[in-house]
């Protein structure tokens, strides 16, 4: 047992740190660190920098443009990016549809789509949820009916994150209503510019436009955009879910946020003394800090068992549950820290180019909205209740 990194790993960390330090644009990291709004261009700029370095897709096989890193190297890479305030790479392309295309796509699909993901030419989004299909995904009703060389797609997806920026969407669609519900589902790649595809914004309680409805009205999709076999979409979706676990807990990012919280609470005066000197507040922060340290090690233990070739399995659900609980706790403590300054709501103050005077301390403006926004994390990607069902079934055998 050794909690220290090897010399090679330490050297790798230095290499990543040096690169990120010299290449991450300062205006972007400032937005990230100060919880400002990030434009599409901010994400794409950073992703193109990674692309040019060859670090856009650490998890992919080398022959498709991956790095060949060990799980620990990937962990260190993510940590260094997070500490420096790099934006998260948008997952839908590189971490979600990419691995599916690599595993199940045709050579033509691989040649067409993968380079465009690496270069950020295509922005992907995910078409899973429907208004009637939340936790019960297999009940989805968007239909794709074969018509010559095309599928005619009709239906509605919802909670489609950042679809307003997307060039492509990967969808679960129903190609058959016979047999078990899961067996009629196929995995289809759809160009967002296809006639009949429309996007309608959903505004969330924090006032943000992050998710959307995506409507398909007789959208014609070439059959070449079907991944794998018709009716096997459920299998590919499960593969996708279990595949991308590295970084699911986002510990490094939340260590940065926790440090921010502690700095903030050291500055905030609470009736004559710094808030961090308040025993009850300090105890809450400390408990989160300890839990996060534990989660970091739990995450590394899962990584390590990965490296040893054992099946990764449903431990990812533990990381998801605990990770989102801690994210929610941290956003709540941040909001609590600013006291009555949680109330002012100035959406314009969330834009980096806003030159107004903040109300109260500058860090306060995004915090309440952010707390509300983060309630989503225990709902999306399989609600925490669904994750507990998975653990009960697959780890506990209940």
């Amino acid at each position: 047992m050794d909690f220290a990194f090897t010399l090679e790993e330490a050297a790798f960390r230095e290499e990543v740190r040096a690169f990120v330090r010299s290449h991450l644009p300062v205006d972007i990291s400032r937005k990230v660190n100060e919880h400002k709004h990030l434009d599409k261009d901010d994400f794409v700029r950073w992703q193109k920098i990674l692309y040019r370095k060859g670090w856009m897709a650490p998890g992919w096989p080398v022959k498709f443009g991956g790095t060949g890193w060990t799980p620990v190297q990937r962990y260190l890479f993510e940590e260094e990016c997070a500490v420096a305030g790099a934006p998260s790479v948008i997952s839908f392309g590189v971490n979600m549809v990419g691995p599916v295309i690599i595993a199940f796509g045709t050579p033509a699909q691989q040649q067409h789509f993968l380079p465009r993901i690496l270069s950020s030419e295509d922005w992907w989004c995910q078409g899973y949820s429907e208004p009637g299909s939340g936790s019960d995904l297999a009940s989805l009703r968007t239909r794709a009916v074969r018509d010559g060389d095309h599928y005619i797609v009709n239906g509605q997806k919802t909670w489609t994150t950042l679809a307003q920026h997307a060039d492509m969407i990967f969808c679960l669609v129903r190609t058959s209503s016979e047999g078990k519900r899961q067996e009629g589902i196929s995995f289809l790649l759809i160009d967002m510019r296809t006639p009949g595809v429309s996007v309608r914004p959903i505004i969330t309680l924090d006032g943000a436009h992050e998710v959307n409805e995506v409507w398909f009205d007789d959208a014609r999709v070439p059959i070449g955009n079907l991944v794998g076999e018709e009716g096997k979409g459920w299998t590919y979706a499960k593969f996708l879910l279990s595949h991308e676990r590295s970084g699911i807990a986002q510990v490094a990012r939340w260590k940065r946020e926790l440090a921010f919280l502690k700095r903030m609470a050291g500055e905030i005066q609470s009736g004559g003394k710094p808030l961090m000197a308040d025993a009850l507040f300090s105890a809450k922060v400390t408990r989160v800090e300890i839990e996060l340290l534990a989660l970091e090690i739990t995450d590394l233990r899962v990584l390590a068992s990965d490296r040893e070739g054992r099946a990764p399995g449903p431990e990812a659900s533990i990381l998801k549950i605990k990770g989102t609980e801690l994210q929610q706790a941290i956003t709540e403590l941040m909001m609590e820290a600013v006291g009555p300054y949680a109330l002012p709501f100035l959406p314009e103050a969330l834009h980096a180019d806003w030159d107004g005077t903040p109300v109260g301390p500058a860090f306060a403006a995004p915090l309440a909205a952010r707390y509300f926004n983060y309630r989503k994390t225990s709902i999306y990607g399989g609600s925490n209740e669904i994750q507990r069902n998975i653990i009960a079934q697959r780890i506990l055998g209940l």
Binding site: S135, D136, L205, D278, P340, L343, P344, F372
Partner: protein, 377 residues
Amino acid sequence: MDFSFSEEQQLLKDSLQRYLEREYSFEARRKRIKAGTGLSAEVWRALADMGVLGLPFAAEYGGFAGSGVDSMLVMEAFGRSLVVEPYLATVLLCGGLIDQAGSSTQKAYWLPRIAAGNAIMAFAHGETDARHDWCYVSTRAERKGSGFVLRGRKAVVLHGGQAQHLLVSARSEGEPSSATGVSLFIVDAGSAGVQRRDYATIDGLRAAEIDFANVEIDATALVGEYAGAASTIDSVLDRANAALCAEALGALGALYDLTLAYLKTRQQFGVPIGTFQVLQHRMVDVLIHLEQARSLAYHAAFYAHASDTALRRRAVSAAKVQVGDAARFISQQAIQLHGGIGMTEELSVGHYVKRLTMINATFGNIDTHLERFAALA
């Protein structure tokens, strides 16, 4: 020992609820907030006509000598309809301060105007470095001639931008955290040296940062004893907190109803999600939180006007803790049990959650009241 409401109270409750259901629908509210005026003249007029604006004041001032329980009924109804009008700021805070500390001249002048809906006022008390310490006042008041000069800045003043007159707390002696040395003044919001920055709050209300740059006021502006306002402020904030607990109770009741209904109608895996035992037990915990919160919100409303200050403080701080815990738990579960739809701007769920969360950030959070209660025990 009696937990029922009198006939008059039941009547007030019913008529107010009926009015709000008719005129203060979720859609109507949304439009009013969008207007950005912070209050709606026709609603204010209607509340005056119903006697709600004068409810706490004596009959000679156009009121009904309402009790803490009466205020609770009003605020609970407001909470259920997410009313964003300046009732707390004008009637309970400023009206309460004048009623408790004002001279008979001041009372005779202001209270009838408030009751009639002709005065919008705000209590400029909180400050940037106070957070939840409600003794903390660093704004200075100095004598000048027969009057005073005010200098300082007030933070997150509810409806401070809409008020025609401000009640301002300012200190003539002592450290900012000291309980003594604070006075109250009525200041015309248009006075020279008053600068206001009005903004929206995340729960749909309005608030303001207000600067007082050597604002000169005359002797008649003083409300109550010079440097002796501490106990009045404590008493009025206790009543305001009891009222906020009642408002929270209204919002919590609405969230409970919405969520329970959703559990019964939303289908997943071919059955209503309310058939899943985990969600059933979660909803039971929602109910238990709600009932426990209701008990202490009632208790606080009853004792908010008590002359025994220790009893009053304990009752109010206990309620703020219990209701606050319920607000956190029920808010978080209401969203979780609704799933994605609970996160959207167009459903009322999120708006109840926002208001409840902000109530917890107003006039002392859970920890503050926990420590206050402990210190009184």
